[in-house]
Assembly symmetry: D2
């Protein structure tokens, strides 16, 4: 069951579930689009869902679902989760930020609002399988991280964990495709605004900063300070994060690449090599491509990672978490080849 | 086995075979890229082919392959096919135009060169399953049609077959993404040339015209005359064909749509409805979306169809044909949902 | 003075007026953006208008303007023009369709509404200088045609005027950039919807059809019937019209090209040659590029034309008309070179 | 006279000269395109140069030119300049890097080749008018800097000059449109490679790094160390540089913005304000838009600047320099409004 099926993450869940051997979508809710055919909003799904219409959200709809994906705008999950967790057997994977931060005090600071269900924050596991596979396996409640966080953290966590880089002065300079901004038309997301343009946004105060810092803090076992600068690139999908950190002691490209390659050696979706990652290589797949360099001239450690913001950065990751939560093979229904070109 | 694995059709065959349950790629040839890692040329394939390198084409390589896909520039298949058809048990699916036309005289006219293996022309079945499924089933040699032909012919064949439209004065006005022009860099395909541009090309003399006319002639059982005007649109994938024909007698949108819907009622990959097709709806899938209108004011019948030129317009169709040729389920390894947005 | 300065046509008027030696913008109105700095909405204009804010429309604002451009959504000019034409000395150039059709009965048919100022329809001159230069010179009221009409009519008018092509069965198949749909965000104009997509829209019933037919009728001196099919291409600017017509008697590419070249021999903004027009060649300029072919196989006459929909298809044409109306040199402030690439 | 008129910088010089009141192009050379009509290679220029063909470079061609622009690939100017500087009255503006660095030893380090005319290095003035206006005025030989350098240096020079930021640990993370890679087709610049992709390139070793460091060193009056990371964005034009530096002592957004605004208060082409710069705002214009922020949380100073890489980042700047060199008004023939959208 998908709550919030009309946005891009919801539609991507529908796409991925259509070819998943063990998941069947019993219903997709969308309050603003209730009654609309899925195939009218997304003709790309007409082959797989020729006759499904969106339904309005009602708690009882959830009764027959073993698994619930929540793909809602920020803030909505906080209100819905308490209504649907009564049945102990049901699994929930939330794609929003509502249950990702472990400290309720961060919500007023970064989201300008008090959390509505702070007691549930510790019930949720942070849904990044590469770092928290054990906790996600069999978990009832998973808060899957989004695109920027996944991309930045997969690049940096091994290095802070290994003590190779300093935990302050880190800069994450990232560029995203426009689908990250959602389906609803806005001034900033019209074709004419974005096409042939490159610009920064959310400067200094992007809401995903505290998640990046939280996960890196856990890996480093000390406070980590990150300046995160997102940019908008004229493309539909894809995130590239270029991460800058100072080494703790002189290091080399080879040492940093080895650290990353070793960490992810048996990961099915993380590809570490010497190639410069391209967002387009990941299109439609659940992969994250990573490389790194150390500049002998200036000392900077540079790590670059790329993924598809709607797959490994959203719905693919949510399904990867659901697979783990339900005891299915982790890679079920998830591809490793990008649609190219 | 894929002969010509370094072009976009070859890479798409590699992508689709990676998730095909019954096809395994034993080798991919590429003379100009022999020795290059597949993953270096296409990092998008690094997850599925981490250690495969292109090999040069040599006839003996083919010995261990039950199925050979040929994805070569025009003219090359004519020279290779005679070398590799000695083994009776092997199936060949050619993605080029070399064996599509049934009349050898058309090659000098449209391709400015004499056919090198005219005696084989009648050995090949035209690989459009929606029209020639019976012949393709179990066939040894299949010539799969390309993007423009598939798109135009799926739109028009039912109408000429039903006698609903006149067989002269037909116009097919189509727009294609740039991948149709291949991987090799050319003046006309650089980003700066194509980006923000829309233009016609190949005016009056595009090589796929005689294929469109041939298939429609077979459906109509009489000569069919088509003016085909391709355009280049600033996108990587996708073909949209807007087809104009005069009705044989006054008709209606409803009658024309019914004719198309009835024809394709049980087709797994053709979707007929009232929605205006978008190329993007088909991205990465093997579907063709079709609609039609009749203009009560001017009488014109307008049929519009869309598909992904590298899937239903090339490699997906080739696999659909291979499935039929090998006796596998026709839809094996082929998706019906587009990657969107 | 620009009434409706916040849309793309309004902004383009501001851009062109900034480098026009004889026009100075005394004010730009925008009801929904009143109080907003021009440079906040269009940072591209911050160099030329660092301190101008939009004002709300009020009839008295017009008092000090010798020339008024109206760049409003359809229907608004009908209500405003009667308020501002009292001063005999003032010139008006309307960029909307409100005063383009000469037959008030066409408005209910194509725009689903009765015209509010039908008596003014005959006061307005149709602002296509290449066809109606004499009437526009010194005119008080000019209704400048839009992008599709200008592009189609410049391609076809000389041929129907010369009797080279039949006046029925004409098809205009055109593709437009997204700026033609305006600045206000809509589902159909978000980046993710348009990017990598090509689609038809407004099938059979696009509102500019009767204008095309009206102008061609005047040139042909008989009724002309056109089927007009617009498409949306993933680019910000540009229109390409591919026009199909049957010859009245057998003709040749050379004859058709000569007819066009002779007609426009002394036109400063129309370029006729054998090259296939690219929309990108016209970017930012007031030019229209035209070519033609005759297909010896099928007989069709094909004429292709390209222009920048916001310049020669809107604001550039309006300034060209204003130059003529005010007695200035016609090319004043208008460029003939495109920004490329 | 333009030597190297067939590349994008050469074509942009032709475009800008076409509307320059005091410059007339007597000839444009292009060895590989000699004999080709300018309008065939660039139909966008057909309105302004209907009958000009490229000529091969020969030293005597230069004889009648008061001003020579060199728009050649790196290395070529070193060979040509000695041939054409014999006439004392002639002015030269070189758009390549050949004469930008003041230390000949940097050429083998960054360009892997020894400089061919090291004695001329000190004859050339660095053509960045905002920093070196006095030296450029009346200069015979000007080496105009390119897009990355201009964009980065305009952002950072005032801050290092004022001692507001530290001179080590600076990171310039920039994204460029594809025209920066030139007109000649390459694997990395085909539409299908670039479209929908974002990637880094030239990591750690981009050739423009030493120019950035050289100019900042002059402003800081001490060594400056910069890590420069260029990215390729799917757009034709535009550069955005996001620059990170540590403050020398705690500072604020307001202080940093004031420093920039005061520095450029009377500059015709540099616009400093609180708005986040968009590359698209500068399209076709000679402007550079700059803003800055100081992050109170992490202390980082972030300066962001945008310009059109072919105008202020190449040919526009070259003309600005030529204006100064020839004693013309500096803004002659150069626009401040971007073509938008």
């Amino acid at each position: 069951m998908i709550i919030g099926g009309s946005g891009y993450s919801g539609a991507e869940l529908l796409r991925l579930c259509a070819s998943h051997p063990h998941l069947e979508v019993v219903a997709a809710t969308a309050d603003s689009k209730a009654g609309t055919e899925v195939a009218d909003l997304y003709p790309s799904l007409s082959g797989a869902y020729p006759n499904m219409a969106y339904v309005p959200y009602e708690p009882e709809h959830v009764e027959h679902a073993d698994l619930v994906f929540l793909a809602l705008p920020h803030g909505a999950s906080q209100r819905i989760v308490p209504e649907i967790i009564k049945d102990d057997a049901r699994h929930i994977v939330d794609l929003a930020a509502d249950f990702r931060l472990d400290d309720a005090a961060l919500y007023p600071q970064w989201y300008s609002e008090t959390h509505q269900a702070p007691d549930l924050l510790n019930e949720f596991v942070f849904g990044l399988p590469e770092l928290y596979r054990e906790q996600i396996t069999g978990a009832r409640m998973v808060a899957a991280p989004g695109c920027y966080v996944t991309c930045s953290v997969l690049a940096l966590a091994p290095l802070v964990a290994a003590g190779l880089v300093q935990t302050t002065g880190i800069v994450v300079d990232a560029a995203s495709g426009v689908s990250g901004a959602g389906r609803v038309p806005r001034d900033q997301t019209t074709f004419c605004t974005v096409d042939e343009d490159f610009t920064a946004y959310g400067l200094l105060e992007h809401r995903h900063t505290p998640e990046i810092e939280m996960v890196l803090r856990r890996s480093a076992d000390t406070q980590v300070e990150v300046l995160f600068t997102p940019h908008l690139a004229p493309m539909s999908r894809g995130i590239l994060a270029t991460c800058y950190a100072r080494p703790t002691s002189p290091t080399t490209t080879s040492e940093v690449l080895s650290c990353l390659a070793d960490t992810y050696a048996s990961e099915p979706f993380v590809i570490v090599d010497h190639r410069l990652p391209h967002t387009k290589s990941t299109l439609g797949s659940n992969t994250c491509h990573i490389t790194a360099r150390v500049d002998p001239r200036t000392g900077w450690v540079v790590v670059i990672s790329a993924l598809d913001n709607l797959v490994k950065g959203a719905s693919g990751q949510a399904i990867q978490c659901a697979n783990l939560a339900l005891g299915l093979p982790e890679t079920c229904g998830l591809g490793v080849t990008g649609v190219y070109p």
